[in-house]
């Protein structure tokens, strides 16, 4: 599976952000969006990675960028995880049909049934401007995201 290339239009999705609310990518048209695909709630690396993005809330706000976390976990699981870690951004549930969004972005790991640890930076029109697939066990940090957001403003 190959991740969606730079220049591609990001596939639309509508996914649960809580057990009774849904979020569509198109709602964020006009703002940069950072899609953070990660393998699973509660696993140590994901926690650190999303914690780092939480720390950078003000930096992302400077770009008016929206951060969306996406994994195959159910929305009840997301809810507890986000509450426990006090994440300020939505965690979307790519749960049913399982991994459909990850597949559309080319970052689904069929064998394990989880998504890759992948990042996509979308511009205001929803075009992929930067992407990165990290080894599953390695937190990709935030330097690439920030550089990509800076580039959007040029």
């Amino acid at each position: 599976m190959t991740a969606l290339k730079v220049g591609a239009t990001a596939p639309e999705f509508t996914l649960p952000s809580t057990p009774d609310q849904k979020v569509s990518l198109s709602e964020f048209r006009g703002r940069p969006v950072v899609l953070v695909f990660y393998p699973a709630d509660w696993s140590p690396v994901c926690g650190d990675q999303l914690g780092l993005y939480t720390e950078l809330k003000d930096e992302f706000a400077k770009f008016n960028a929206e951060i969306l976390g996406i994994s195959v976990d159910g929305s009840w699981c997301h809810l507890e995880f986000a509450k426990d870690r006090r994440y300020p951004f939505p965690l979307l549930s790519d749960f049913e049909p399982k991994g459909a969004t990850a597949k559309a972005y080319g970052v689904y790991r069929e064998k394990e049934g989880i998504s890759e640890r992948a990042l996509f930076v979308l511009d205001r029109e929803g075009i992929v401007r930067w992407s990165f697939v990290s080894p599953v066990g390695i937190n990709p940090g935030a330097d690439g995201i920030l550089k990509a957001l800076e580039q959007l403003n040029k």
């Binding site: 650190d48 990675q49 914690g51 780092l52 939480t54 720390e55 950078l56 930096e59 870690r85 006090r86 390695i138 937190n139 990709p140 940090g141 935030a142 330097d143 920030l146």
Partner: protein, 187 residues
């Protein structure tokens, strides 16, 4: 096509460093005083420093993950405040050695133990004198690809492997020897 994350802020004499400034190898740590992994790394780095002596320069920069660690920012600013009175490393060590009881009371009693000018110390903490400094360290770390703590760099490249004492010291030793060899090469 994965790029290796490289230290974007070069080490200068304004950094907090231990060991000779021109040591053959430098270990930079981006650390959080409340992070349990950093707490585990603390005695390991000490051990490696002892083993390597003057062949190692160790640099510490702040990377407080304040959302997860409510006392990390205070601790970072306290170490900097102590640093402005010439006692950075003493405070750094005591913070890690008392990680379990981090907080306002602890930093004040450590400041007392270190014979700091207490009025100045409290003033620096209350006016958040080192807030910007800590933030600058943090953002420099983010831009260098620090992805969690402890974030280590060896010879300016992010080090993602194990930092158990044996691995860390053998990697640092190899880097130090390489460096000395390079220096001996004429031209």
């Amino acid at each position: 096509m994965e790029e290796r994350s490289v230290l974007s802020i070069p080490v200068t004499k304004n950094d907090h460093f231990q060991g000779p400034f021109d040591a053959p190898v430098t270990l930079v740590e981006y650390g959080d005083y409340e992070c349990p992994h950093c707490g585990r790394a603390y005695p390991i780095v000490k051990e490696v420093q002892k083993k390597m002596g003057a062949r190692l320069r160790f640099v510490f920069r702040n990377f407080p993950l304040t959302n997860a660690h409510p006392n990390a920012e205070l601790a970072a600013e306290s170490a900097e405040a102590a640093g402005s009175q010439g006692k950075f490393w003493e405070m750094h060590d005591l913070l890690y050695e008392n990680q379990e009881t981090l907080g306002g009371e602890l930093v004040q009693s450590l400041a007392k133990d270190l014979n700091l000018n207490l009025k100045k110390f409290v003033d620096d903490i209350e006016t958040r004198k080192f807030k910007e400094h800590v933030k600058k360290d943090f953002m420099g770390g983010v831009k260098s690809g620090v992805n969690g703590t402890p974030g280590f760099f060896i010879k300016d490249v992010r080090y993602d492997d194990s930092w158990d004492p044996d691995t860390l010291s053998s990697i640092l030793e190899a880097a130090a020897q390489n460096q000395s060899k390079m220096r001996r090469t004429p031209g």
